[in-house]
């Protein structure tokens, strides 16, 4: 067997968080294969890859590249060994051109004077060689995300990467862009390069990988040939139990209109409208899904509805009450709940306790507050209830929440937002970065709320999520609603085209 890479018995303990991130992990990757590495957030995938790339030093274990034992203490060393990494958050310079980004640090020069033409020519040759067309003189910031990612890949290839690590590469892409990426990945593998593909989307694994290794809580549970496994089996390995994929929601019974957004205009950064004339209604007992590629106004729309961003024009009406100018607190008292896209910085305060995270929306209620003093026993009781009802593993009422996993953090958010008896919930990317087990939990919780009669506005870049939960679907493109349809009429193809800005 021709192994490009072997990691043996890798062990890593982080004393600051008291987490064993890798427990004697053995990983073998064959030359020329696409090897998927899957696992929940916090399963240790990223730590393992950071060890391989020289960003983290393992406590124990050995690494072999092309059969030779190596010590990788620094990314420079990894690059020298032919290991390249495309990070989830691109490490590129937005104001530089494509060529300048790719050649950064390797610029052809004579006595320190850059030879620009040669640089551009070099990039053209590289792009042609791998079939990854880009315009070398375009500014990076003007490119769509899919092309920026291509630049990252080219940058690694320019540095002679034989083993390419892609960290959650599809998280930022449209379905079409993702498909393009898969083609590129397959072509690279066919050309003899080795690709390690980190993801938690199992559908993609089936589509692009030759073999898959599954991690759970720092351990490598197993490695399988794609031909011999299934999504269901991988999910079971990841979570440690059976996972339901399709929740088969009961038919919705929508009632009266709960949220009515009329001709909303919201300014984005730099004064350009981020939301232009958007109107939508959500009725009680239904989920309205808003599909769209990241950065088409989702954040601004949600912030305007929830009161976190001022509105330029139009109106937001909740249960007949005009709330367009009301502050966040008043909207919450009127029955609004909000599951924000960024649970680490917006949805939660990781620096404080579970108790203080849960009362942020209700610390003024007489139940928790007497004459301006917080009633600790009542708050503690609330925490205990939420921990029990939402099965938040490893959380104790008085403790901090900083060490909880992503799934458990989202349960804290759900616990807070749903125990307040809301009439209307805005859920923005509610499963971003979560593992399949937690996704199932979030979806089930939202559907239960819908069945109780809550109106839900679901904003997500995950098409699966939109199509499996929503009763009606709209697409947001460049700040405008481009179409609305019932879930029965929505196909992935159709939505994908609308998300990319084409008309049907």
């Amino acid at each position: 067997m021709d192994l490009a890479l072997e990691m043996r018995s890798i062990y890593k303990y982080f004393p600051s968080t008291q987490v064993v991130a890798n427990r004697r992990v053995d990983l073998a990757v064959k030359r020329g294969e696409v090897h998927a590495l899957v696992g929940e957030n916090g399963a240790g995938k990223t730590t393992l890859m950071n060890i391989l790339y020289g960003l983290v030093k393992p406590d124990e274990g050995t690494i072999y590249v092309n059969g030779q034992e190596v010590q990788i203490t620094h990314p420079d060393e990894a690059i020298r060994l032919g290991i390249g990494m495309v990070h989830q958050h691109f490490k590129l310079v937005p104001s530089f051109t494509v060529a300048e980004n790719v050649m950064l640090g390797l610029e052809p020069n004579s006595l320190g004077v850059l030879r620009k033409m040669e640089e551009i020519e070099g990039l053209r040759r590289l792009a042609a060689e791998f079939g990854l067309p880009v315009n070398p003189t375009a500014r990076l910031r003007d490119l769509p995300v899919g092309l920026q990612q291509r630049v990252e890949i080219l940058k690694a290839l320019q540095r002679q990467a034989q083993i390419l690590i892609l960290d959650e590469p599809t998280a930022v892409l449209t379905p079409q862009e993702a498909r393009d990426l898969f083609t590129v990945v397959r072509r690279l593998a066919a050309g003899g390069r080795t690709v390690i593909f980190i993801t938690h989307k199992l559908v993609e694994v089936m589509e692009v990988a030759d073999r898959v290794s599954v991690m759970r809580r720092g351990e490598l549970i197993g490695t399988k040939l794609i031909k011999e496994t299934s999504i269901r089996e991988m999910a079971r390995m990841m979570v440690g139990r059976e996972v339901l994929f399709r929740l088969d929601p009961k038919p919705a019974h929508p009632g009266q209109t709960v949220l009515d957004v009329k001709n909303l205009v919201v300014a984005g950064t730099g004064g350009i409208p981020a939301i232009l004339n958007v109107s939508l209604q959500v009725r009680e007992g239904e989920i309205l899904g808003i599909a769209g590629v990241n950065g088409n106004g989702q954040t601004e729309l949600v912030e305007a509805i929830t009161g976190m961003r001022p509105v330029e024009g139009g109106a937001v009406v909740l249960l007949g009450q005009d709330i367009t100018r009301l502050p966040v607190g008043a909207r919450r008292r009127a029955g609004m709940a909000h599951i924000p896209e960024d649970r680490m910085h917006i949805g939660l305060n990781l620096a404080t306790s579970l108790d203080e995270n849960l009362i942020v929306t209700r610390y003024k209620l007489p139940m928790f507050n007497r004459l301006g003093f917080l009633l600790k026993p009542a708050i503690r009781q609330l925490s205990a209830n939420v921990v029990e009802r939402f099965a938040i593993a490893a959380a104790r009422p008085g403790d901090g929440i900083a060490t909880l996993s992503g799934g458990n953090l989202q349960k804290v958010v759900l616990g807070r937002e749903l125990t307040g008896q809301p009439k209307f919930i805005v859920a923005n990317q509610p499963t971003r970065g979560l593992d399949v087990g937690s996704i199932e939990f979030v979806h089930r919780t939202l559907l239960e709320a819908r069945d109780r009669g809550v109106a839900i506005l679901l904003v997500s870049v995950e098409l699966d999520e939109i199509t499996s939960l929503s009763d009606r679907i709209t697409v947001l493109f460049r700040g405008q609603i481009v179409s609305e349809m019932n879930v029965a009429e929505a196909t992935e193809e159709k939505l994908g085209l609308l998300m990319a800005g084409s008309s049907l």
Binding site: Y13, V20, E60, V328, R332, D342, G347, T352, G398, D399
Partner: protein
């Protein structure tokens, strides 16, 4: 006790203790250079700072007296920092508070008890307003509070200097000062020989109130959340801007109280050089005290003892300049700021603790 709480306590205790030890160790080198045995010097320093020979001549009482304004300016910093505003305006608030109290101390005539109470309340109000102002500037106009408070310190200082040099000048003596306050306005000292008195009790009371406010009351909760996680606070519906302004007002009131105590209980008038850096020393006490009222009270007392000890113990006995006291304090702050130096060791101590307790240690997990 959960692993997490234990770690939190360990952390907030070890960082300042290690900083103190490191500060003393580095200062020992400086003492050695002057040709004095550091151990002897430190023995003398701590004796002068923290011992109590007899009731009439008790060094500790003087230390408490010196600690009183530091505690209050420190608490002032705690309240501001906990709402996420790095206010350095204690100096100016203290001077204006002191000026207000001193002026009311001689300009109006009231019976005992009522007189100092009126002067203190007025001083706290003036200090509060002088804190509220940069708070408003920050919230409404986005003016950086570090810069505005420093500038306001200079304005307050120069304004008070003008007052005691010209309109309120008492006499033609070489240093400018105001008229002395009435006997009725004076804060009583507990023992003759020092001016340790009622102000100390007020400072301790303030520490308890600050604790209750920040960690038990809902306005304090608002303020801490807005300080720790501004986006989270806004998301939850906390009126963060009000909370920040309120925090700055309370912060100013505490520094104003410090000024009133200095004017009514120590100097009995307003004079040139009234503060002598009490505002900034309070900020350092708050930082060494881990921005917590209890820690701040302890750190303020410790600083006061060091200052007192450096002056009486080192300067008088060994002819080492008393500025060394300030030097030691500065070194300690440097080590607190560099707490990442210790972080690693704190983790190790924690791991060791766990192993001793027979809990999950690294080896068992493997």
């Amino acid at each position: 006790m959960t692993a997490e709480t234990r770690k939190k306590i360990l952390n907030s205790l070890l960082t300042p203790i290690l900083a103190v030890i490191c500060g003393l160790a580095v200062a020992a080198v400086l003492i050695l250079i002057t040709g004095v045995n550091p151990l002897a010097a430190y023995a003398q320093l701590f004796k002068a700072g923290f011992s109590c020979a007899e009731f009439k001549r008790c060094n500790l009482f003087t230390t408490f007296q010196l600690a009183t304004p530091l505690m209050l300016t420190g608490l002032s910093a705690v309240v501001a920092f906990r709402s996420g505003l790095f206010s350095l305006g204690q100096e100016g608030q203290l001077i204006l508070g002191g000026m207000t109290a001193a002026w009311l101390g001689y300009a109006i005539h009231l019976p005992p008890v009522i007189h100092p109470v009126v002067a203190i309340v007025a001083a706290m109000l003036v200090g509060g307003i002088y804190g509220w102002f940069p708070g408003m500037l920050k919230v409404r106009l986005g003016v950086n509070e570090i810069i505005s408070t420093i500038v306001l310190n200079s304005i307050a200082n120069l304004f008070v200097l003008y007052l005691i040099n010209f309109p309120l000048r008492a006499d033609r003596s070489t240093t400018a000062h105001s008229l002395p306050i009435d006997e009725t306005a004076r804060l009583v000292a507990f023992a003759s020989g020092s001016k340790w008195g009622i102000g100390f009790i007020l400072a301790l009371l303030a520490a308890v109130l600050v604790y209750l406010y920040l960690w038990r009351s809902s306005p304090g909760y608002e303020q801490r959340m807005a300080g720790q996680a501004p986006f989270f606070a806004r998301f939850g519906g906390i009126p963060s801007e009000q909370a920040a302004i309120r925090g700055m007002f309370i912060s100013g009131m505490l520094a104003g109280l410090a000024g009133a105590i200095q004017a009514l209980g120590v100097h009995y008038r307003m004079l040139d050089g009234f503060s002598g850096g009490l505002g900034f020393d309070g900020v350092t006490a708050a930082i060494l005290g881990q921005v917590h009222p209890l820690g701040t009270v302890i750190a303020a007392t410790f600083f006061a003892g060091l200052r007192q000890g450096a002056q009486v113990g080192l300067q008088f006995s060994f002819k080492i300049p008393r500025e060394l006291g300030g030097g030691i304090i500065a070194l300690m702050i440097l080590f607190v700021a560099a707490d990442q130096l210790f972080r690693h060791h704190i983790d190790r101590v924690d791991a060791l603790w766990q192993r001793l307790r027979g809990k999950t240690s690294m080896k068992e997990l493997s």
